[in-house]
Amino acid sequence: MLEIKNLHAIVAEKEILKGVDLTVNDGEIHALMGTNGAGKSTLSKVIVGDPSYQVTEGSITFNGADLLSMNTEERANAGIFMSFQQPIEIPGVSMANFLKAAVNAKRKSQGLEPMKASEFLSMMRERRKLVEMDNKLINRSVNEGFSGGERKRNEIFQMAMLEPTFCILDETDSGLDVDALRIVAEGFNKLRKPDTSAIIITHYQRLLDYIKPDFVHVLLDGKIVKTGGPELARQIEDNGFDWIKQSI
């Protein structure tokens, strides 16, 4: 369970989050919508522990632990995963080496031995199929020369390898064509365990057609101003945010 209370955060001395309260119970899917610059990505960066964002007030607990006292990799190894909006290239580091380091870092944090090479390779082979990821991409450097769609697919592939319990999908749908969107979303659904929870940041209804949210939140100017069920996303798709702005 992730519990955010009165969260305020700044970046480059500008306050972006101005008191966010949000509770995500195990197994729940929460969609987060809002205008550009409302603070959606900031909220996700603060949850994963991007050091360029500073929390000035409030708290986040994850399964009872104080998340804000943990560094980025500790949070990741505790089960938090983010599908980046713009996944970055890491030249010279193969996907296989990168994922091996990530999988073994997690195992180490759990007091387990590094995974055997053969076991790791067969795991990659199996998980790759879930998102129909081309084997050629696995042999390349991380995201190097990947198209926008391939990068997004690669994010979900990494999620498949790391088996997180809490996922943030930050505009995973942007840049994906209809078929790729379906593959990525179905991949996510297959990977999801009953207790896996997620925050899905999106501008569009179409991703939510595949990944059905339990709650939809509207974040405007650093605060959650409205919460509803799946129907709220459809209303926003049809009418935009102005009617919500006017009602507050």
Partner: protein, 479 residues
């Protein structure tokens, strides 16, 4: 947190920083003609070699220390250094001539066991501490193939004609200031002779260790590979952590004949000084190979992580037609380290080909320069060179520089040069961290990925060592 980490690293990082407590005969500090004579007599050298030394010394005295490097070289007081330290010398000559167990233990600790039964498989080692070779392993086994592998002092005694023929033939004592100094006072290094049509059955390696305080080490290595011969040679180097700088001024000469091939690899891990820039080895080296024969091959591969100052350009003179030379380098500088390193490729023969791959990695407040010369002589028809020089910066207080020089005197030659500079970005680190990979490990992954084209050229066991070394050298560089 970053500070704590840097502190921890500074304490743990250089694991070869111990000293060996062994009786060492050290001659008095200072450098003059008598000292040159004393060194020569201690080694029981013939007259011609003493002459060579004295000429070199005379030349050295007439010269000034060069200043063209992109380096802040501390002033070296050449009279405040001892030029000969022998840790194998017994206090009492009546004792049997056995190797002091302390010396054996030291090399064990460095991962270089000198007992042949314990040795790394397929590798013969010449272990040099301070001015003297402690032991050379597998000499007898190599002798079965008429391969000579011994210390240069021993070679002077046992194979004087071979040494006389080649010593100074590639790097004359007038070559440069430090070459003149080395030629005057050189102590031990290795001698390798590969007879015609002989493939050396094992890797040969020399491990250089500086132990004694206030002494300079003047390594001299000579490798001769006759027609159709092949050898792969490795050198490794470490030194104790000391507050004062230590001088290591070496010469390596390689002669490669028709259709012969020499691979020379270096993993240089001299003490780099502390995180404030105090102490460390001054590594001032002249390395050069003469590709004398037709279709001869020479490759230099170096991983340079240590030393306060590294100033060296392993070079190739491509004299034989169709000869091929390669230079692969990874130079890492952290804290206050400075490196000005690269290569010279001098194309004289026809259709000669050279490749230069240089990867500089700078962190902390260090300065890292690539300096290279590609020279094509007027008769070198169809000569080709490809150079690629990349710099990777960690942090914003370090410097990376590239000084490529070209001098092409034949219009059928092709010379290509590429250079890039990149930085490990915060976003890359965040991406790794978010996947559970710590910053240190992420830097290691990225740096090793960046350097892998060079690392892959090293023999297997050394490649693994070099990878670890790269990560360790840069720990705490990004905080």
């Amino acid at each position: 947190m970053a500070n704590e980490f840097v502190k921890k690293v500074a304490e743990e990082k250089y694991k070869f920083g111990f000293t060996t407590d062994v009786h060492t005969e050290i001659i008095d500090k200072g450098l003059n003609e008598d000292v040159v004579r004393l060194i020569s007599s201690k080694k029981g050298e013939p007259e011609w070699l003493l002459d060579f030394r004295l000429k070199a010394f005379k030349y050295w005295k007439s010269q000034k220390q060069p200043e063209w490097g992109h380096l802040k070289l501390p002033e070296i007081d050449y009279q405040d250094i001892s030029y000969y330290a022998d840790p194998t010398k017994k206090k009492d000559n009546s004792q049997p001539k056995e190797i002091d167990p302390e010396l054996m233990k030291t090399f064990d600790k460095l991962g270089i066991p000198l007992e042949e039964r314990m040795a790394l498989s397929g590798m013969a080692v010449d272990a040099v501490m301070d001015s003297v070779s402690v032991k050379t392993t597998f000499k007898e086994k190599l002798a079965e193939k008429n391969i000579i592998f011994c210390s240069i002092s021993e070679a002077v005694r046992n194979y004087p004609e071979l040494v006389r023929k080649h010593l100074g033939s590639v790097v004359p004592y007038r070559d440069n200031y430090f070459a003149a100094l080395n030629s005057a006072v050189f102590s031990d290094g290795s001698f390798v002779y590969i007879p015609a049509n002989t493939r050396c059955p094992m890797e040969l390696s020399t491990y250089f260790r500086i132990n004694a305080r206030n002494t300079g080490q003047f390594e001299r290595t000579l490798i001769v590979c006759e027609e159709g011969g092949y050898v792969s040679y490795l050198e490794g180097c470490t030194a104790p952590m000391r507050d004062e700088n230590q001088l290591h001024a070496a010469i390596v000469e390689i002669v490669v004949m028709d259709n012969a091939e020499v691979k020379y690899s270096t993993v240089q891990n001299w003490y780099p000084g502390d995180e404030k820039g105090k102490g460390g080895v001054l590594n001032l080296v002249t390395k050069r190979g003469l590709l004398k024969g037709h279709n001869s091959k020479l490759s230099w591969t170096q991983v340079e992580t240590g030393s306060a100052i590294t100033w060296k350009y392993p070079s190739c003179v491509l004299q034989g037609d169709d000869s091929q030379a390669e230079f692969y380098s990874v130079a890492v500088t952290n804290n206050y380290q400075q490196a000005d390193t690269g290569t010279k490729m001098v194309h004289l023969g026809k259709r000669t080909k050279s490749t230069i791959i240089s990867k500089g990695i700078s962190a902390g407040k260090s300065e890292n320069s690539y300096r290279g010369l590609v020279k094509v002589g007027k008769n070198a028809d169809g000569a080709r060179n490809y150079s690629s020089c990349d710099s990777l910066l960690l942090g914003s207080l370090c410097g990376a520089h590239t000084f490529p020089y070209m001098d092409v005197n034949n219009n059928t030659a092709t010379v290509e040069h590429e250079a890039t500079t990149s930085k490990i970005s915060e976003d890359q680190l965040l991406y790794c961290n978010q996947r559970g990979i710590s910053t240190e490990e992420a830097v290691g992954l990225i740096v090793n990925g960046y350097a892998k084209d060079v690392i892959n050229k090293l023999p297997m066991e050394f490649a693994v060592e070099a990878q670890k070394l790269l990560s360790v050298s840069l720990e705490g560089a990004v905080g």
